[in-house]
Symmetry: C2
Subunit: 412 residues, 2 copies
């Protein structure tokens, strides 16, 4: 894409109403826009990265048997009353609204109730299990205080998967499989070395749940980590009995701030019992379906990666989710750069081409801010030196290569 | 995909609470699920078709210079008050809700206000124009009566594009370009021959707007069509003065029921004036930006295609948006069919493989209901006859071809 055509522009100054680094950088670089507190838009560059993050997650979900769908935002109170999660005293983050035709409805903040009711239409026999539906869908949560930029917002996309298994044993097998898929996702996205599968409260459902926590000073959570044994515990379950069970002592655990980038829950038969999701086993006996839920927020991941992998010059995207592979910058050499751009495009390379009529200094600063992995400069000097000046976003020094070398290396 | 793994199942009977053919067929075939009146979920098969429709639209929008983004559902009253569209007396389809932190907010039913405010951050000079942002985003409309299945719902995805041009001339050029892109979309989707660019009311903004109306007895709209002259007029502007302007007489126009599958609006400077979106022209004079908006609902298209192209046996998908290219059906020949399935998958062919332990009659009925373009049956009889029995969904007769022929024809 030609940068002169991109309707967003970078801005030099941090927005006055943002204190979090992720939102500051993403707004300055033109990836997101703030509508109001806790509500952001995805602008073109942000949407590209967001969709690439979704694709990384989607591949892993499909690989473990996931089937994608999209459930509605508008929620029918009938099913939520059955599980006692409609009342504002029980769930304090509902957005509710009214139908002109009469009756209250809610905006989905999670989808256990809806997906369980759907499954009652399709699951009747043990032959219909297991099933692993998932979606990328908007969630709405009426947070009293929106904070941490795009990490905790009132409207956000969640990848939520739900598992339906015939017994605890097959549930546990899938639960572990999903935990593995989650770690592969965080590794692929470049934050695996900072992310821990963390013991957390199981709530009303089960003894423990697991969170995936990424170490960061900007995190809202506190976890205790034993790096050597690769064990992490959320402070909410940091008790002697838990530590004993895990075979670690308090002294071995280091306190860290962290960002919750995913969570997996065993739900037992709570929802299936309350919404009457039963199946007939091999002997024809009615049984309750065993459920789990598995969440990752691609928007929060976008924020986490912006926060953690950036430097003082701007964003630093891992190649797999970068908005473009190459940032081609022309310094007064648009005729030559136009030709190179066309060549790269015809090879299917994703290029942002800075063909704007602004100073070299501005172009370099914007390039660092936007954070595309590889920068290629075409200028009088680079031509005199033998071709193109190539620099990785994470490296300080550039080198000169010929156009042939560039095209050869890229096509390989 | 193996049909035994697909968690949705077809149903023989029409749902008792649906009178529209599109919803009946899509529910029976497992493409959608009804949450409540006017609110539907997209199940896996439905989501595949929906995403393919989006991709057809996306390609055309990108080809005319569109830049994709996603705006928020939650809407800030501040901007809507400036354009006088917040008040329920003016706009009667708002869903509104309240923030815990205090203050009323709305659910977006369109996005002119939001996108115009964003553009004030990026558009300052004539050099920043034109710009054509667009999105696929949920719209919420508090319809008193939801009807026509998935054609008129309270929650739906809209592709809405907004154009920002420096003057009427360049606006009109883009408007015509977009009208052309729309007709290409409807042609690609197989409803072009039934779809008319139709003169409609321009509302407060301009003399006319244009709707794209697809002839169907299930439509909610009435249009008058002159097929020979390729002129169509919505009944709301079916006046002598309009007909005279178009050079047709009332007698030449046939009354038809139709479905509005798209619309394009010239907005003039209404929103840019009210939200202060100005630019400096070549001489440095401040000017108002000229706007347009362009909508297509991929969900309504899904419903329209289900309604129009189906027959009494079920859905009939055009290849380009079919959930799968081939429906492979095994009749007691799973070992052979498994091998063929693996071959097709390895060739990158999208196959639904009916490996279920149900009767041939059930498999054929389901195949007709689901509506995949090509059905391939592998059975004792087909093997005796020389290979595979191949039938197009729209044809009555099948023919026998060898596996080699099939693989050759597909790869070509």
């Amino acid at each position: 894409m030609k940068q002169s055509h991109l309707f967003t522009k970078t801005q030099k100054e941090n927005p006055s109403d943002e204190i979090s680094k992720n939102a500051q950088l993403l707004i300055r670089a033109g990836f997101i826009n703030k509508e109001m507190a806790g509500v952001y838009d995805l602008l073109p560059l942000g949407l590209i990265v967001f969709n690439k993050i979704k694709e990384v997650i989607r591949k892993e979900m499909n690989a473990i048997g996931g089937q994608e769908l999209i459930l509605s935002t508008l929620q029918d109170p009938v099913i939520w009353k059955k599980t006692n999660r409609w009342n504002d005293d029980v769930v304090d983050i509902w957005f509710k609204t009214s139908l002109s035709a009469g009756g209250e409805i809610g905006l989905g903040w999670t989808h256990e109730e809806a997906i369980t009711r759907i499954m009652t239409k399709f699951v009747h026999s043990y032959k219909d299990l297991p099933a692993y539906p998932y979606q990328f869908q908007n969630k709405f949560r009426n947070e009293i205080r929106a904070k941490s930029g795009i990490m905790r917002t009132r409207e956000f996309v969640m990848k939520d998967m739900y598992s339906f298994s015939k017994d605890e044993k097959s549930h546990t097998e899938f639960y572990e499989k999903c935990a593995g898929a989650y770690m592969r996702i965080f590794n692929t996205l470049g934050i695996g070395d900072k992310t821990y599968k963390t013991f957390a409260s199981g709530g009303a459902f089960t003894k423990y749940s697991h969170e995936f926590q990424t170490i960061s000073d900007s995190g809202e959570d506190i976890i205790f980590v034993n790096e050597e044994k690769n064990i992490a515990v959320n402070e909410e379950v940091m008790e002697d009995s838990v530590l004993k069970e895990l075979g670690v002592s308090k002294e071995e655990m280091l306190e860290k701030k962290s960002i919750e980038v995913g969570n997996i829950f065993s739900l037992g038969t709570k929802f299936s019992d309350e919404l009457n999701l039963k199946y007939k086993d091999e002997e024809g006996n009615p049984k309750s379906v065993v459920m789990g839920s598995y969440g990752i927020g691609p928007g929060r991941l976008l924020g986490t990666i912006a926060e953690i992998l950036s430097d003082d010059k701007g964003l630093v995207w891992p190649s797999i989710i970068a908005p473009f592979s190459l940032h081609l910058i022309s310094i007064d050499k648009n005729a030559e750069a136009d030709m190179l751009y066309e060549k790269l495009i015809s090879m299917g390379i994703e290029v942002l081409y800075d063909d704007r009529d602004v100073s070299a200094g501005n172009k370099f600063a914007d390039s660092d801010l936007i954070g595309i992995p590889i920068r290629i400069v075409l200028s009088d000097r680079s031509i005199k030196d033998g071709g193109l000046e190539v620099k990785n976003r994470t490296e300080k020094d550039s080198k000169i290569i010929s156009e042939e070398e560039l095209l050869k290396n890229i096509s390989v």
